[in-house]
Symmetry: C2
Subunit: 208 residues, 2 copies
DNA sequence: GCTGATCCTGACCGGGTGGTCAAATCAAGT
DNA sequence: ACTTGATTTGACCACCCGGTCAGGATCAGC
């Protein structure tokens, strides 16, 4: 049984060795879960990719669900950050463009995380509907209010704020989730092209 | 063993009874594959949902791969149609908007097919990379050429044609693939909103 | 070099997986 | 009613799945 972590001070917070092994497992699990989804992934493949036996993996994580939950938890923290980064006091068009760029950068730098998230949503969001309702939705509502304000002040074009946000998600995550298709259909594509296009697109749409 | 279909004339082309059963299986398989992906789906669940035993399912289809391949094959036929529907002789902005509307309608009417496709791409397109290279890519190249022509003639704004096409795919398919997220974050959302938004977006972007 | 805690593994378990097979059922023509 | 071929299924197989367990390495502190 894994040691309970409710002990006063077990080493340097949780021995560096242990943390390193956990990271290796999560790294391998991300590879597998992102490609095959929760049901399609197997502990054997994750353990093999992490270079250890399955029982050893289960020494660090209680179960398959546990690994998956930890992965999603870590991910969702990062997911909300860009939305929070929009500055209500900033220049509206530039603030939205900055959000688009940050989101695109995340898709470029964390494509596996994006695919993991996408797979979870496609499967009906069985394990993260709570997060979506409690964490994401309020933040979206808030941002929608902010955008409505900007529109009312005539500082950006009148657009449906909800659709605007969805469009940003779709356009940025697409480059991570559908990378395999993009690579085949337009092999020379570089992230820079996408950045320039999105800049152009949203500037045209939003500039009053 | 299933009868070989290389016989001269086996009944009315392939007895209506048989075709009906195959449809029921494919219907059930689409439900399951779209949610769980190829690896995550099981023949037991598909057979159960189709209201028959697993051996009976395997009487109609040779294997799990067979069912999946048939589903993808049927789907990919439909997938290319809208792209082919763009009329080189038409009014550029309207032609592109017509394409966007057709693609959005497909996401609305065939969300499971869209999710099946998305899951396949997320998994690295192991079973359809051939189709993407041989079927989709030439068509995209052709369309890119057409759009470049329109741009050269000054009939639409200068945009990256490849990025334009990707953006249409991303924005339309998003409504099917991420329906679970949309339903939680913005429950009242209706497809009509998306249609109006996309119309506005691409009209602004493309009108010279 | 002894000791205790941590780390790691082979062997195993019950249940699920894709797929097979022989036998039972059904539909339809005669 | 009888025959023939298409359809359906229970029983089964070898293998894989998530997870357990008893015991063997390994390492730190003494």
């Amino acid at each position: 049984m894994p040691p309970a972590d409710d002990q006063p001070a077990a080493g340097p917070v949780r021995s560096a060795r242990r943390q390193q092994t956990e990271s290796a497992i999560l790294e391998a699990a991300l590879d597998v879960f992102a490609v095959d989804g929760f049901r399609g992934a197997t502990l054997d493949r994750i353990a093999e990719r992490a270079g250890m036996s399955k029982p050893n993996l289960l020494y660090y994580f209680a179960s398959k669900d546990d690994v998956h939950a930890r992965l999603l938890g870590d991910l969702l923290d990062h997911w909300l950050a860009p939305l929070r980064g929009i500055d209500p006091a900033g220049e509206p068009v530039e603030e939205i463009l900055r959000y688009v760029r940050r989101k695109l950068a995340m898709s470029r730098d964390y494509p596996r995380e994006s695919r993991l998230f996408a797979g979870e949503i496609i499967a009906g969001a069985p394990r993260i509907s709570g997060f979506l309702a409690d964490g994401l939705r309020p933040l979206v509502d808030e941002t929608v209010g902010l955008i409505r304000g900007w529109i009312a002040q005539g500082r950006i074009s009148p657009v449906d704020p909800v659709q605007l946000i969805f469009s940003i998600w779709a356009l940025t995550q697409h480059h991570a989730d559908f990378a395999a298709q993009i690579e085949i259909v337009a092999p020379g594509d570089r992230a820079g092209d996408a950045g320039a296009f999105l800049d152009q697109l949203y500037r045209r749409l939003l500039t009053p």
